[in-house]
């Protein structure tokens, strides 16, 4: 490597790390974010505020309500002054209300008539669905317990086995996703403004007049960020392992290669944004326009596999989607070669095309 290039890279490192606040943002914030999001996030619906309306003295209804609470999904709602069932929902005092038949639950069951109504606040669709599913399960279990054992073992059923994450723990799924997001965020914001900034402050001219080739300038501007991004990836992966006990069932080199490919892709995309933008404000907007959809379509917010056919290509253009899949596969499933190669080649393809686009744009701006 040429000495000037080395010096240039050194300068770029020094510039990126000069500000102590930048060091904080680069190395401390990601850890805090990992801890917060890893601990806080779970898509499981819990602590559903449940109220029950039944005639006084209805022991069977009270028993079933207790079963709901002891299931762990529901917590008793504080009814306050509201008495009518829908009023409880409208005022937000309860998320769900069980309304038992007036004649009494046991009586209705004996006569085989009447029904139990479950009012659900459907403002949140996912929550409403879960509430109904939980309620049906509890209902079925209750009925089975009442009818004795024979009803609970029908002539046909499934032996269910859950693999990779048998306890179905949320962090196992969330942590690799959050890791990808953090690395993506850091690399994009670092690089999307770097060239624009040099141009705006006029220091770009100085760099251009240095004895460096075009590609060397670009390399000097990007290599430091690739290194910083990799350091960041190593940091968050270590945190996921140590803090959350997310295993790494695959090979470490797979994690390294995946992170390298991803960081190169995002640095190239950031540089591309930087070469397109006229000023830092535009660069920032460019960064936002990339980051927002990338994070939403990474696969942890909603099932991206079900997106409408017309919009699906957007997922296939999202490097974060591949990186998250890679991380999850390597950490939880042991890094299956087929999945590793297909996701990696998608990232590689993106890295190459983004880098060549950035290079072409960069030369154009120089002339």
């Amino acid at each position: 490597m040429k000495r000037t290039l080395k010096a240039f890279i050194r300068k770029e490192f020094a510039q990126a790390l000069r500000d102590p606040r930048m060091k904080l943002i680069l190395f401390v914030m990601p850890m805090i974010q990992m801890a917060v999001f890893g601990l806080a996030l779970s898509s499981e619906i819990r602590n559903i505020k449940l109220a029950a309306v039944y005639s006084p003295g209805d022991v069977a209804a009270a028993g079933l309500t207790r079963r709901f609470i002891s299931s762990g999904w529901f917590v008793p709602a504080d009814p306050g002054r509201a008495r009518d069932p829908s009023g409880l929902i409208v005022s937000g005092k309860a998320d769900a209300v069980l309304v038992f038949p007036v004649e009494g639950f046991a009586r209705a069951a004996a006569r085989g008539r009447g029904m139990v109504q479950l009012l659900v606040d459907a403002t949140s669709v996912t929550r409403a669905r879960s509430v109904e599913a939980y309620a049906r399960n509890i209902f079925a279990a209750h009925a089975a317990a009442d009818a004795g054992l024979e009803a609970s073992s029908p002539p046909f059923g499934f032996d269910v086995r859950i693999i990779y994450n048998p306890e179905m723990e949320s962090p196992m799924f969330m942590v690799p996703g959050v890791m990808g997001m953090i690395v993506c965020l850091v690399t994009i914001i670092l690089t999307s403004m770097s060239l624009t900034r040099e141009r705006e402050t006029g220091t770009f001219e100085t760099i251009v007049s240095a004895p460096l080739e075009n590609h060397e300038i670009l390399l000097g501007k990007t290599i430091p960020y690739v290194v910083l991004g990799l350091a960041n990836a190593a940091l968050v992966i270590a945190a996921g392992f140590l803090l959350f006990g997310v295993p790494v069932k695959g090979q470490l080199w797979q994690l390294f290669v995946a992170s390298l490919a991803f960081v190169i892709t995002t640095v190239a995309i950031g540089t591309l944004i930087s070469t397109i933008s006229k000023n830092q404000q535009q660069a920032m907007m460019g960064g936002f326009i990339f980051l927002f959809p990338a994070v939403l379509m990474s696969g942890i917010m909603y099932p991206v596999e079900n997106m409408p056919v017309l919009l699906k290509p957007a997922v296939y253009l999202n490097p974060l989607y591949y990186f998250t899949s890679l991380l999850r596969n390597i950490m939880l499933k042991g890094g299956d070669p087929a999945a590793f190669i297909s996701n990696l080649s998608a990232l590689f393809l993106m890295a190459v095309s983004a880098a060549s686009l950035a290079y072409a744009r960069f030369r154009q701006t120089l002339d």
Binding site: M22, V90, S91, Q117, D159, L185
Partner: protein, 372 residues
């Protein structure tokens, strides 16, 4: 020294408007981007877990076992495809090709026919715990449908449970997604816009110029914020029109209340932007901080998708310092539930308190910054 002069503030606002006009890019962005993103993700986000690729290894290959597979197929949740061995099914799960596997041993059909305890093995990928949960939730319905198909008798509950969904009877997930998306995009844009414009003034040195004029900090802040408030309100209006008429999301509450909440929210976000810009005084750092304090927390901790009630106690309290969390509740409450001021007293007060605190912080930071 006299007090706040609205005319001087208006002059700053005029200057800011000229800045915005000179760069139509910003204008187009603030008005167009929220609509674009809301339309795209309004169509894209669907929480239904369906079309799951199911590996089927049917060694029994009897009429009954084929019936079971067809029940999976016609449920709409699964897309079965046959594999030649159980290990193929597991490799398929390893490589993310399949989400679940159904393994049927020989003698399954005979057992069902005899009324003996017949079992089929179902293997689910637990990597995505919420998806696995949904998949497991489908199984009771499937086994019931299968039993009916096999000709067995199914037991029905003496007292059936009937669910009634309030506010969103058809469980249209767009009603849930679109108001939430609007909150996040509007909040983020507000933070980013101000953080950058003010940071730019510091970076260019033109802030010093502004400060050397008789302008007071309060007048500068008010003047700089006002045009963006108007711009972003325009964006909000646009987004709501698209939501109402493009996606059929209801608007059941009062418009004045919604407008009041929106204003409070915008002020809180803009103040956050000012605090960031005064602290950093540099555009790159300002963007870093805005993204870190804006993007992920508002996407992940505001209750937009991940339910706040499910968080550990500490984080449930922690989310209270995030203004999008409160406005999310307000926006969804007003549009979907038609909630009034009394129902939303807590989130409204919290949002007002947060806005006031952030605005005060912006003033204080700004003032302290002036002293040598």
């Amino acid at each position: 020294m006299n007090g706040f002069d609205i005319h001087r503030s208006a002059a700053v606002a005029r200057k800011e408007v000229m800045h915005i006009m000179r760069d139509p890019f910003t204008l187009v962005l603030v008005m167009g981007l929220p609509v674009l993103l809301v339309v795209f993700f309004g169509f894209a986000i669907d929480f239904d877990v369906k079309n799951l690729k199911l590996a089927v290894y049917d060694r029994d290959n009897s009429r009954v076992s084929r019936q079971l597979v067809s029940v999976f197929d016609s449920s709409g949740y699964f897309i079965p495809s046959a594999v030649s061995s159980p290990s193929r099914a597991i490799t398929g799960l390893d490589s993310d090709k399949f989400s679940a596997a159904l393994l049927i041993e020989p003698g399954f059909g005979r057992d069902v026919g005899r009324g003996a305890l017949a079992r089929a093995q179902f293997v689910a990928d637990g990597t995505d715990n919420s998806k696995a949960m949904a998949v497991l939730g489908y199984l009771p319905g499937i086994s019931e449908a299968a039993l009916r198909k096999f000709g067995g008798v199914t037991r029905s509950d003496p007292v059936p449970l009937k669910a009634r969904y309030m506010y969103n009877a058809e469980l249209n997930s767009r009603w849930f997604v679109i108001p939430g998306l609007a909150v996040i995009i509007i909040g983020l844009l507000s933070i980013l816009m101000t953080a950058l414009t003010v940071a730019r003034e510091w970076e260019n040195g033109s802030m010093e110029l502004l400060l050397s004029t008789p302008l007071k900090p309060a007048e500068i802040i008010a003047g700089k914020i006002a045009p963006y408030v108007v711009l972003i309100l325009g964006g909000v209006l646009f987004v709501n029109l698209v939501a109402r008429f493009g996606f059929g999301v209801p608007f059941r509450g009062g418009i004045p209340l919604f407008l009041g909440g929106t204003l409070l929210f915008i002020v809180s976000a803009l103040s956050q932007g000012i605090v960031i810009s005064v602290v950093t005084r540099q555009q790159q750092l300002a963007m870093q901080l805005s993204m870190i304090s804006g993007l992920l927390p508002s996407l992940l901790l505001s209750g937009f998708i991940f339910p706040i009630e499910s968080m550990p106690v500490f984080f449930r309290y922690f989310t209270m310092i995030l203004s999008p969390r409160w406005f999310m509740e307000i926006a969804r409450g007003i549009t979907i539930r038609g909630a009034g001021a009394a129902d939303l007293a807590v989130p409204l007060l919290a949002l007002a308190a947060l806005s006031a605190a952030l605005l005060a912080a912006a003033f204080k930071k700004f003032k302290r910054d002036l002293e040598p």
